[in-house]
């Protein structure tokens, strides 16, 4: 029943001025309006027994409907049928191209992939937000920035003594704290974070030799991931080797013991060698080979 005329209005608009101001406004003449309000009250009041009062009460009115209005029922049901009806994917995701298997090109990693997506996830998780100082990897920009500031900025400690410098880890929260302990309390209290949030770390760890943390973090990760003693075998060995920068190993041996094992630890990439960011081709190659199993 669609009218061609409507279609013309909507589609062939090049020649026509669609501005509402181009519409000639007819003269408004609402003479009866003034009396209408009175009528309304009168009619409502005495059920129209008064012969002279008009029962006609029409007034233009804009109607506001609330979320649970019955008029919205069908649309809501339709929406929820759609939501429950399986799945959503934009066209690009539905067709996953397979490519010939390739390895992660980052030296020292060399993990094998056969889809770009798998690689993309791997890259984002491990290589995107990496601190070039200590090779730790972080899940977001913000966490990396905070890490760099707190771990590698020499001014930070000095500044921190004078003013609050420890930023909250939660995106969108701009509060700063005097100590990392205060920050942790804030995270737990205000943001309801768990006390062992992995991307937080204690001030102690930081103010001592930086390199201690990775060792401990590895420990705590194993603790949280697997409680069985049998576990640690290959994985722990592997990661120890991976995280291996000279310092780290030295420190770990010198007993960075599980002092604070249950404490939250930074995450870092244990697959990327320490020195890579200086662009020395030879270093890449050497480290890379060593990592490969």
């Amino acid at each position: 029943m669609l009218q061609p005329e409507l279609l013309r209005l909507l589609i062939q608009t090049d020649s026509v001025d669609t501005d509402i101001l181009a519409v000639p406004v007819l003269q408004v003449d609402t003479r009866p309006k003034e009396s209408n309000l009175e009528k309304l009250s009168r009619v409502c009041g005495d059920d129209g027994i008064d012969e002279t009062s008009s029962p006609l009460t029409f007034m233009p009115q804009q109607i506001r409907l609330n979320k649970d209005h019955e008029m919205f029922e069908d649309g809501d049901i339709h929406r929820h049928l759609y939501l429950q009806d399986v799945a959503t994917t934009t066209p690009e995701v539905s067709e996953t191209p397979t490519v010939s298997a390739f390895r992660c090109h980052i030296a020292g990693c060399s993990q094998l992939f056969d889809t770009l997506e798998g690689y993309e996830h791997h890259y984002s998780a491990l290589h995107r937000h990496v601190c070039s100082g200590c090779r730790r990897s972080f899940p977001s920009d913000r966490l990396l920035d905070i890490h760099i500031l707190e771990w590698h900025d020499s001014f930070f400690q000095i500044m921190a003594e004078k003013q609050s410098m420890y930023q909250c880890l939660v995106e969108g929260c701009d509060l700063k704290f005097k100590t990392s302990k205060e920050r942790r309390n804030h995270l737990i209290k205000t943001h309801r974070y768990p006390p062992d949030f992995r991307f937080d770390r204690s001030k102690k760890t930081k103010s001592r030799t930086e390199s201690k943390a990775p060792q401990k973090s590895e420990g705590s990760m194993e603790v949280s991931v697997a409680t069985l003693p049998a576990v640690s075998g290959p994985d722990a060995g592997e990661s120890m080797e991976f995280c291996a920068s000279g310092e780290t190993e030295r420190d770990s041996q010198s007993g960075a013991g599980p002092v604070q094992e249950e404490q939250p630890k930074p995450r870092y990439s244990h697959k990327v060698p320490h020195t890579i960011c200086f662009g020395q081709g030879s270093t890449r190659g050497f480290r890379g080979r060593r990592k490969r199993k």
Partner: protein, 534 residues
């Protein structure tokens, strides 16, 4: 310092662009993965039955104010063994099997990922989900893997959590809560798929209870969603929109959620999601539009939303969609976008002062677009037709320029065509026509020129008292302003109709009919003498 491999990433992106060839250009289509049953003809009856049942449950839930849904994502990388996996989900693993599987998952090593993958498949069954969450340490282990440094395990763990979040059993959803700080942290990550997965998990968890939502708000879900809505990947925008809509449609939204959302500046990004271009994913636009609808419903402050351009965004997208519908460039699913847009616009119009709107409603094509939508969806979705007429009512009840535009653009015949239809459609049309007639002589003359009187004669015969009452109101306004109308109405044999109404049991109708006969049609009514009022 952060990302030395940016150029390389660029390269990968470029490859992607080349690989994905776009669908037919210019077509508004919603790409959803259909239920198997839908494509399978033999199961059509069964599917229809299921659907009716599902609809019944949903309607009941809405009456109980419990209307929430969880969403499932397509498991993309399992195509090859999808069927098998679906079947195995049917025969549930025993408690021992699940325990054994979990024990294996706890062992680190090469095989861990594969065990996790097996676990993920097993977790499709609600029974297995219950067994799993009751295992000692199971959730800590899963969260540990999610936050761990093995990317593969992380992804599989996220999939497991997603399946758990989709469970109809509230206990399962609650068991996932320790994962939320990590899920939220990962929203700021760069992997689009992983972000979307985290978003859907959070969206499903949102539906659980008020306590969960409170916790997520404290953990910063609103700023996280704001940043996700700004991502370029439409799947992420869609997922973020879904999660936000889950938050916004809850009972406690108006008090707890809407204020921080409005304060966060997120609305601007929602509006950016409403792109009037067909090749901009419709899925994302749908979610953004629903969020906007919930926002408009739960805030009294339409002015602010309108100042951000909400009115002009909605109306320009509706114009585009109206054009697409009129020229047949749509497929099933476009109504999912039209619906929330109409609602947002309708309520915004009723909440704004008309001066504020003038600047935003400059395109007169909105009116024909609303008529086109009402006509096109009349059969498949009468409720949608009614809602577009509701928007038209809110427009024409405003500044007189819109009523003039109804006449100038000759929309009255299109409206008249809608008068025979029930379910509130004819009432809405009469309301619109009343708005026009109310403005006086010139408007009424044009209305009668457009052929309204014969149509009113038809509606006066209808059984619905509301329709008849409204018709009488419109008729009276037309009679007031023009004597020619009275003549024409008499010629159309309108008088006997009014006289018949005088004997109706409904007082409202009787009164109006008598009044009209007494005051406007005295000269024309020869029979009047015989019919006493009341």
């Amino acid at each position: 310092m952060k990302d030395e491999f940016y150029p390389y990433r660029k390269c990968i992106k470029f490859i992607k662009i080349i690989v994905f060839v776009r669908n037919k250009v210019g077509m508004w289509r919603l790409s959803v993965v259909r239920h198997k049953a839908r494509s399978d003809k033999s199961h059509l009856e069964e599917f229809k039955f299921k659907r009716r049942e599902q609809e019944r449950v949903l309607r009941q839930a809405r009456r109980d104010k419990q209307l929430v849904s969880k969403r499932l994502m397509q498991e993309d990388d399992e195509e090859d063994d999808d069927d098998g996996a679906m079947d195995t989900a049917a025969d549930v693993l025993s408690k021992e099997q699940v325990t054994e599987l979990f024990r294996r998952v706890q062992h680190s090593g090469e095989e861990r990922v594969n065990h996790l993958r097996t676990l993920r498949k097993a977790l499709r069954s609600p029974d297995t989900q219950l067994i799993f969450i009751k295992l000692e340490n199971s959730m800590q282990a899963l969260v540990g893997l999610l936050s761990g440094s093995n990317a593969h395990c992380q992804l599989e763990a996220a999939h497991c959590l997603f399946l758990l979040s989709h469970s109809p059993n509230p206990a399962t959803g609650l068991a996932c809560l320790p994962a939320t700080p990590y899920l939220l942290t990962y929203l700021c990550g760069q992997s689009d798929k992983f972000t979307a997965l985290c978003l859907y998990t959070l969206g499903n968890l949102c539906a659980e209870s008020e306590a969960v939502r409170e916790k997520l708000l404290a953990q910063g879900i609103v700023p996280a969603l704001t940043s996700c809505l700004q991502r370029h990947n439409l799947a992420v925008v869609e997922a973020a929109g879904f999660t936000l809509s889950q938050l916004l449609q809850t009972k406690d939204a108006a008090a707890n959620i809407v204020p921080p959302v409005l304060a966060s500046g997120l609305t601007l990004h929602l509006l950016a999601g409403l792109q009037p271009a067909p090749d901009y994913g419709m899925g994302a636009a749908i979610e953004c539009a629903w969020c906007l609808h919930y926002l408009v419903c739960s805030t009294a402050d339409s002015e602010t939303l309108s100042a951000l351009g909400a009115v002009s965004k909605c109306s320009s997208l509706l114009i585009t969609l109206g054009g697409a519908v009129a020229s047949g460039n749509t497929e099933e699913g476009v109504e999912l976008l039209v619906w929330p847009l109409l609602r947002a616009l309708g309520n915004l119009l009723s909440g704004c002062r008309s001066e504020g709107l003038q600047g935003q409603l400059r395109d007169s094509r909105l009116l024909p677009a609303l008529c086109v939508l009402a006509q096109a969806f009349l059969k498949p979705h009468p409720a949608l037709a009614r809602e577009s007429l509701w928007v038209l009512n809110n427009l024409t009840a405003g500044p007189s320029v819109f009523c003039s535009a109804v006449l100038f653009l000759n929309l009255v015949p299109a409206l008249i065509q809608l008068l025979p239809f029930s379910k509130g459609i004819n009432c809405m049309v009469l309301q619109v026509l009343g708005n026009v007639a109310y403005l006086g002589k010139e408007y009424c003359t044009q209305l009668s020129r457009a052929g309204l009187l014969p149509a009113l004669c038809a509606t006066l015969k209808m059984a619905d008292p509301e329709v008849v009452t409204l018709s009488l109101e419109v008729l009276a306004m037309m009679l007031t302003h023009s004597s020619e109308v009275a003549e024409e109405f008499t010629k159309l044999m309108g008088l006997p109709l009014l006289e018949a109404i005088q004997y109706n049991s409904q007082g409202e109708m009787r009164l109006r009919a008598s009044y009209i006969l007494d005051h406007y049609l005295t000269a024309h009514s020869q029979l009047k003498v015989d019919t006493p009022a009341l």
